[in-house]
């Protein structure tokens, strides 16, 4: 083999060596849109929890939860690169697009996971850190590696990973897991299936192509519509629980009731409209409203705590 050929060979081998990604690609690995929801719900958990935590440590807690969530997103993209290549929604992600090597994403995800858990433990408390570690493990291993490709109920159990952030925020302040934080967990846990099944109704082709056993692909759209309605009906009263249990005001209770009824209304539209453009619009409508619902529920919980505190400060 001539020197030129040897050089050519080693040159070709560098194709998989990585080092091609821009900073923006690494930020994309963290799933910033998912992260924004995690930051918001974790922040609410921190702010409404009884007790006090130094503002700097509260900020560190939210930062660690956000970075941990981002790390699990990177691990998810590392493992799911094969199916991300098939789906239109995920085709342009950094790994399937060839801008970042899978090994780079794995190293990035593992490093951030270790750092976020260690810093949360050392700076705040080890219960919160343990919950964060469990959340990362649950999303990256239990959901991504196991449930997602194995069962049509992947999103039901896997949704727990997205429900932990407010509980971690609460644990960061109180050092415990209480009924109130379990209710915050339950709200997101019950919200996740109708949210993602509405998405899968109008993105069914993607999941079919990637052979992911989402409910509409495996059990059909009719069963999915029934399940969406059932989970929505279950979610509505759970959304009101903070007022029933006394850690949110009557105003919150009334608003959460109205929002819950609206959620069931959108789910009913999905249940009734089963054909053509009307069915697609109903699914898109529920998907969009579900995002608004979660944002408003947590905003109301935050307002419940902040408004009296601000009024009290003004009067004092």
């Amino acid at each position: 083999m001539s020197l030129a050929e040897i050089r050519e060979t080693s040159f070709e081998e560098t194709a998989g060596f990585g080092g091609q990604g821009a900073v923006g690609d690494y930020i994309a690995l963290l799933k910033p849109r998912v992260m924004s929801l995690v930051i918001f719900t974790a922040l609410v958990g921190v702010l409404i929890a009884p007790g006090s935590l130094h503002p700097v440590l509260a900020a560190v807690a939210v930062l660690c939860i956000a970075v941990g969530a981002g790390a699990s997103g990177a691990l998810n993209m590392w493992y799911d690169a094969d199916i991300d290549r098939v789906m239109s929604r995920t085709r342009s992600r950094p790994i399937p697009a060839g801008r970042i090597e899978p090994g780079e994403a794995l190293a990035f995800g593992l490093t951030l996971s270790a750092f976020s858990v260690a810093v949360l433990g050392l700076a705040v408390n080890w219960l919160a850190a343990g919950l964060l570690a469990f959340t990362i493990f649950f999303y990256a291993v239990v959901y991504t590696m196991w449930l997602k490709r194995a069962t049509p109920h992947n999103i039901v159990i896997g949704g727990a990973a997205g429900a932990f952030p407010p509980m971690i925020g609460w644990a960061a302040v109180t050092g415990t897991v209480t009924l109130e934080s379990v209710v915050l967990f339950l709200i997101i846990f019950m919200w996740t299936p109708p949210h993602f099944w509405a998405l899968s109704l109008f993105k069914r082709g993607d999941y079919e192509a990637a052979r992911i056993p989402m409910l509409p692909v495996v059990a059909g759209e009719d069963v999915t519509r029934t399940q969406i309605l059932a989970y929505s009906v279950a979610l509505a009263p759970i959304g009101v629980l903070p007022a029933v249990l006394g850690f949110a005001s009557l105003v919150y209770g009334i608003a959460a009731t109205v929002l819950g009824i609206a959620f069931v209304f959108y789910a009913l539209q999905v249940y009734r409209r089963r054909e053509g453009e009307a069915a697609r619009k109903a699914a898109v409508g529920l998907f969009s409203f579900s995002l608004l619902y979660l944002f408003l529920i947590f905003s109301l919980l935050l307002g419940d705590t902040l408004v009296p505190a601000v009024i009290g400060a003004i009067w004092a």
């Binding site: 050089r7 560098t14 080092g19 091609q20 821009a22 690494y26």
Partner: protein, 56 residues
């Protein structure tokens, strides 16, 4: 391979690759500086003036 040129001394990065490498280096530098500041502030918050109150 596209984007890279064979050079007598090995692989020469394209301008775009150099730009990305620089921006990654800057981002890593900023992250490290941020961590230094973060750990310093956390230490002050958790230990306060007591950070200096230790046996030599």
């Amino acid at each position: 391979m596209t984007g890279q040129n064979l050079h007598e001394d090995g692989i020469r990065l394209t301008e775009e690759q150099k730009r990305r490498q620089r921006s990654r280096s800057v981002a890593i530098g900023l992250a490290l500086a941020g961590l230094v500041v973060l750990f310093f502030v956390i230490t002050l918050v958790k230990m306060g003036p007591g950070v200096f109150n230790r046996p030599l």
